[in-house]
């Protein structure tokens, strides 16, 4: 199956072409099913590939053709199939397939359905290219492709201004990150003379370049990763991206695209490991982002924004894991998170679908009897997010927090623990506000209904995944996923496994943190002790800061955007007066010269012929001079 690995992106590409060319006119609703079938086929192939990799073919490079061959600059279009990419391929295709199926129900009444599936298929294709690439340049193709599709899909409802601005913001933020990525791969090529991962790692072992060069590479690549994975300081596009259709949020902004930064760092792990301080930077940035986003999520009232900040926070966890030297844990969390966060998003989508597009949690409430499947699946996913055992999220997140402790980062461990409590608080709050209590908007409540089966079946499938996905990581630090991923993300320094007592203590600590978070949340919102409004009033300025998301957007507006405007204005003036002026002068001089030279154009063919012969004479004289050695040899 591995040799046919190119089939995996080929199916979505075919779906993209078919729905793109024939969707609007002929296929209409069918384009959704065609795209779903294509991604389903990809998922089957991907599972086959994964099984074969498990079966022992650890690392295979499947070269398709040479893309660029200029001197030393050789780039192939080739797939690197190893445990890391096999896991990613499987997660991406399986989750995508479920979300595609779900979208058929969610988007059923949207007239842009063929366009939606066209972009969605293209997105899956680009994501698979990103994952499969065996070099940084091809990965960049997928990297840019997912960015483009993200832009197109956030702005899917471009008739309204908010999605349009959100799309623009996402694109610009991503471009800023891509700038870092570009610098990273150019420096990589300059330092290592190759863009191929395996070549780079081999040369890294053979003769390591200077520490500073490596640090520059790693920080630049990590800057790119922060753009794509919504870490500080480039996180602010992700919450706004919730303007897109909910399946898009689930697929792109929770399960797949945002994890590509994590994937990039995991893929480059040997580089980061060799570049000392950069790994610490990754960990610290991840931890700060995690707690930062979790605090903002505490007070959001839009259900999708809660999920968005939760995603940012969870991605922070993944970077934290990478930073403390537990890449396997990061990928493990990436996989489980893909399932439960997709489930949370799809569940909120189902709720939004039921209440006519309202996203404000204050207007919901009491929906539990009306939508039992959605409710129970969301409770499972919320439990996973809050890291309650035995759900998947528990195993993966606990391992990250534990790794921070046992690898010698106690402060990061405390941060992780505290964030875990916050996470439990806000997810319990969100589920309570949505499903319990009295219906706060009777009109909406009347109309609410359970979603059609095409939407609930994917929810159930994801719920099963959420429950079971943790199994691949049991027991902690020695589970299947760890030994499986080890050859891909081996950092050299063997992770030391803490004694059992420590493990149990760490797990207990994080469970206790989660339970405390849930308990506080429920007591506040179910019992009103203390009353949430009173708490908000009491905390005064802190609450306002949180509601306004730390004023980050305003800061960006005032500091960066204004500066950019000023620079642009200056450039414009420079362009008009200096550049254009110069061009005009040159043109004027040329016109003057042309007026003089026009006399040479007699229009008589014979004169022209004579000129040619004179030129021949000139060449002959020059050649004679050269032959005689006048000009030197």
């Amino acid at each position: 199956m591995i040799d046919q690995v190119w089939l995996i992106p080929a199916f979505p590409l075919a779906a993209f072409l078919i729905t793109g060319f024939f969707g609007r006119r002929w296929l209409r609703v069918w384009s959704g099913w065609i795209a779903s079938a294509a991604v389903g086929a990809s998922a089957i192939v991907a599972i086959g590939v994964l099984l074969e990799v498990i079966g022992g073919r650890e690392r295979t490079v499947v070269a398709l053709y040479r893309w660029i061959g200029v001197g030393d600059f050789q780039v192939n279009v080739a797939a690197l199939v190893d445990p890391l990419s096999a896991v990613m391929l499987t997660v991406v295709t399986v989750v995508s397939f479920l979300i595609f199926v779900y979208s058929n129900g969610y988007m059923a009444h949207d007239h842009g359905l063929p366009r939606f599936f066209t972009w969605l298929s293209l997105f899956v294709f680009a994501m698979l290219i990103l994952v499969m690439a065996d070099n940084y340049l091809l990965m960049f193709v997928g990297w840019e492709g997912v960015g483009l599709c993200s832009y197109l899909l956030i702005g899917f409802w471009f008739e309204r201004p908010e999605p349009y601005f959100a799309a623009k913001k996402a694109f610009v933020m991503n471009r800023i990150g891509d700038w870092g990525y570009t610098i990273g791969i150019i420096t990589t090529f300059l330092v290592f003379g190759s863009m191929n991962y395996l070549d780079i790692f081999r040369r890294l072992e053979a003769n390591a370049p200077s520490q500073s060069a490596l640090t520059i590479i790693c920080l630049a690549l990590f800057f790119g990763a922060t753009g794509k994975s919504a870490q500080l300081p480039l996180y602010s596009w992700l919450p706004d991206a919730m303007e897109g259709p909910t399946p898009v949020s689930a697929l792109i902004h929770a399960a797949t695209m945002v994890t590509s930064g994590v994937y990039l760092v995991a893929r480059s792990m040997p580089l980061f490991a060799a570049a000392g301080p950069s790994l610490a930077v990754v960990g610290v940035v991840g931890a700060i982002t995690a707690i930062f986003a979790a605090t903002v999520a505490l007070v959001q009232i839009d259900i999708k924004r809660v999920m968005a900040y939760s995603t940012v926070s969870q991605l922070g966890y993944m970077f934290l894991a990478l930073g403390v030297g537990a890449p396997a844990a990061a990928i493990f969390h990436l996989a489980t998170h893909a399932f439960f966060k997709a489930l949370l998003f799809l569940g909120s989508g189902s709720v939004i679908h039921a209440v006519d597009g309202v996203q404000d949690m204050r207007r919901m409430g009491g929906l539990r009897p009306k939508m039992p499947i959605t409710y129970w699946t969301m409770v499972i996913a919320g439990g996973a997010l809050a890291a309650l055992p035995p759900l998947a999220g528990f195993w993966s997140k606990d391992e990250i927090v534990g790794a921070a402790f046992s690898n010698g980062y106690p402060i990061l461990w405390l941060v992780g623990l505290f964030t875990g409590g916050l996470t439990a608080f806000y997810i319990a709050r969100a589920i309570w506000l949505t499903f319990h209590g009295q219906p706060r908007d009777p009109h909406l409540f009347e109309h609410a209904h359970e979603s059609p089966r095409v939407m609930t079946v994917p929810l159930l499938a994801l719920a099963v995944g959420t429950v079971l996905a943790g199994a691949i990581g049991i027991p902690p630090d020695q589970g299947f996923i760890h030994s499986f991923l080890a050859p891909s993300v081996e950092t050299g320094a063997a992770e030391h496994v803490p004694p059992l007592g420590t493990i149990v203590f760490l797990a207990l600590a994080s469970v206790v943190a989660s339970v405390i978070g849930i308990a506080i949340s429920l007591s506040m919102y179910a019992r009103g002790r203390p009353d949430p409004a009173a708490v908000a009033r009491a905390s005064g300025p802190y609450y306002r800061i949180l509601v306004n998301k730390y004023y980050v957007d305003e800061l960006y507006d005032h500091r960066f955007v204004d500066v950019a405007r000023a620079v642009a204005g200056a450039s414009w003036a420079f362009d008009v007066h200096i550049i254009d002026g110069l061009a005009n002068r040159v043109g004027w001089a040329l016109a003057l010269g042309g007026a003089g030279l026009r006399r040479a154009q007699t229009g008589i063919v014979g004169n022209y012929a004579l000129t040619i012969v004179a030129g021949l004479l000139l060449v002959l004289v020059a050649y004679g001079g050269y032959a005689a050695g006048v000009f030197g040899r």
């Binding site: 014979g606 012969v613 002959l620």
Partner: protein
């Protein structure tokens, strides 16, 4: 008995033919005669190719230059009227300069021409297989380009010489409807 003396004699006759007929093309005033003499130059040139052992090229030379280009030029001669204008406009003023230029190039080149020497080639069959192999392997791409060039020239020649009458008649018919 050897026939070695035949080749120089044939070569001498052919070169005299080439040079004399070529000069006559330039000097003679009757254009039809010039065209015919040009054909004669080409024929003598084909003879030289045969002497060099390049029969295929010689055949192409006759086929294309005598069979096609000369006929085409004769068509051109017959469709245009060459006026016997005794006076020249300013064009003729360049003749002395042209003579000086051409002489300045020609004399060194002609003096150098005899300096070329090459070993006698090994005897071998005609040039057909070698030519065909080269054209269809190493030079396949230029060959395709040349075919495109010919097509473009054909279309261009037709467009250039096509009268507008057919078009006019067409529009007239349409107007009548």
């Amino acid at each position: 008995m050897t026939f070695d003396f035949v080749e120089p004699i044939v070569f001498a006759m052919l070169s005299v033919g080439v040079i004399a007929a070529g000069a006559a093309v330039v000097l003679i005033n009757r254009i039809t005669a010039a065209a015919l003499l040009m054909a004669f130059t080409f024929l003598c040139m084909a003879g030289m190719f045969v002497l060099l052992g390049a029969e295929t090229i010689a055949a192409f030379q006759v086929l294309i230059y005598v069979g096609a280009i000369t006929v085409l030029i004769l068509y051109g001669v017959m469709f245009t009227k060459s006026g016997d204008r005794p006076y020249a406009l300013f064009f003729q003023h360049q003749t002395p300069i042209a003579a000086i230029f051409v002489a300045a190039i020609a004399i060194p080149v002609l003096l150098l021409a005899f300096s070329f020497n090459a070993p006698a080639p090994p005897p071998r069959g005609g040039d057909l297989p070698g030519l065909a192999t080269s054209v269809f392997t190493d030079f396949a791409f230029p060959f395709e380009i040349a075919s495109v060039l010919l097509l473009a020239a054909m279309v261009g020649a037709i467009v250039l010489t096509k009268r507008d009458e057919a078009e006019g008649a067409d529009t007239r018919r349409r107007e009548r409807r």
